[in-house]
Point group: C2
């Protein structure tokens, strides 16, 4: 098979090539557009879940009664708070970007930037959140040995668990945005059919 | 553009479609084959690096003088050892698989299984190793406060640092094998041009 022989490919599914991804939505085939829309809804839902879990992790960790130990007394819990705040803000931004893409059919940044931005930040923040929550788990385990730790221990346990749930959704988002990146590299468009 | 209009696509690079990915290497174009070979060498190097770092992390953690605290006295360090042993064995297997693919031009398992197996295990073990090393870092930080901790502290610090280096290479491998998975989904072959 020569290098120019790509036309007669008996590929299992017929594939649609968008000539200009930046065109108005009228130029996309309806099948492709419907699939992309479903994909974007899926991403939006995972972003929303990550946002909710990260936000509640922050709230649970911060809201402590006076008199008990506070989160800023422990390095690991400071790390947990920082990572969850970052993920909360990032998820909020990505929800806006996703809603923008669903409603207008185009990305906020140019398409090439957008797919790499999403994927890179998803990866880094997923690893960051997992790292923070692992350190927080170890810290919470150590705290158990201290006699004065009662309500704060339970709160920090819940906060770390919520952080892990947020990590799970962020990890799935990173898989989806990774798919978009490779789809963009291979086909020159984030559309995939 | 209709659904059947995919022939006249002015895609930036001409693309080669392998009709049967399981055919002998004679049927692959030379350009595609050379690129795949370079890709496989790259994967092999990252596997080798992950193997070396994970193995030395295990060795550094285990080799302690008698009389000092041992790694199995601490839950977090048991986790570090377990994760590094798993990554060592997995990297060894993947090195064999990669060498097999370079020398024979075909995967050990059927191609579909192989790409998903690689990617899934890369992801899970990368997250596992990062989690273990984060918990180990927190434990090592706590150990600093104890007066009896001298040589063991330094050894565990080095071991955790080596584990982080191993994680880095495993993470890059997971990106590469993720690329192979999406390439397989989109083009029906792990070959990409």
């Amino acid at each position: 098979m020569t290098r120019n022989g790509g036309v007669e490919s008996p590929s299992p599914r017929p594939r649609i090539h968008q000539t200009h991804p930046h065109d108005t939505p009228h130029f996309h085939s309806t099948v492709s557009e419907r699939k992309l829309r479903r994909f974007n809804y899926l991403i939006f839902i995972f972003r929303l879940a990550a946002f909710c879990f990260a936000l509640s992790a922050v709230v649970f960790m911060i809201a402590t009664k006076s008199g008990s130990p506070r989160w800023y007394d422990f390095g690991a819990f400071r790390f947990v708070i920082a990572a969850n705040v970052i993920v909360t803000l990032y998820s909020l931004f990505e929800m806006v970007a996703s809603a923008w893409e669903i409603s207008r059919g185009s990305t906020i940044f140019p398409e090439c930037w957008q797919v790499w931005f999403d994927f890179g930040h998803d990866q880094v923040f997923a690893y960051l959140l997992l790292s923070a929550d692992s350190a927080g788990t170890e810290m919470a385990r150590q705290l158990r040995g201290i006699a004065t730790c009662n309500a704060f221990c339970i709160q920090s346990d819940i906060s770390v668990a919520l952080g892990f749930a947020g990590f799970l959704f962020l990890m799935i988002s990173s898989l989806l945005s990774g798919f978009r990146v490779v789809s963009f590299i291979l086909n020159g468009s984030r559309f995939h059919v």
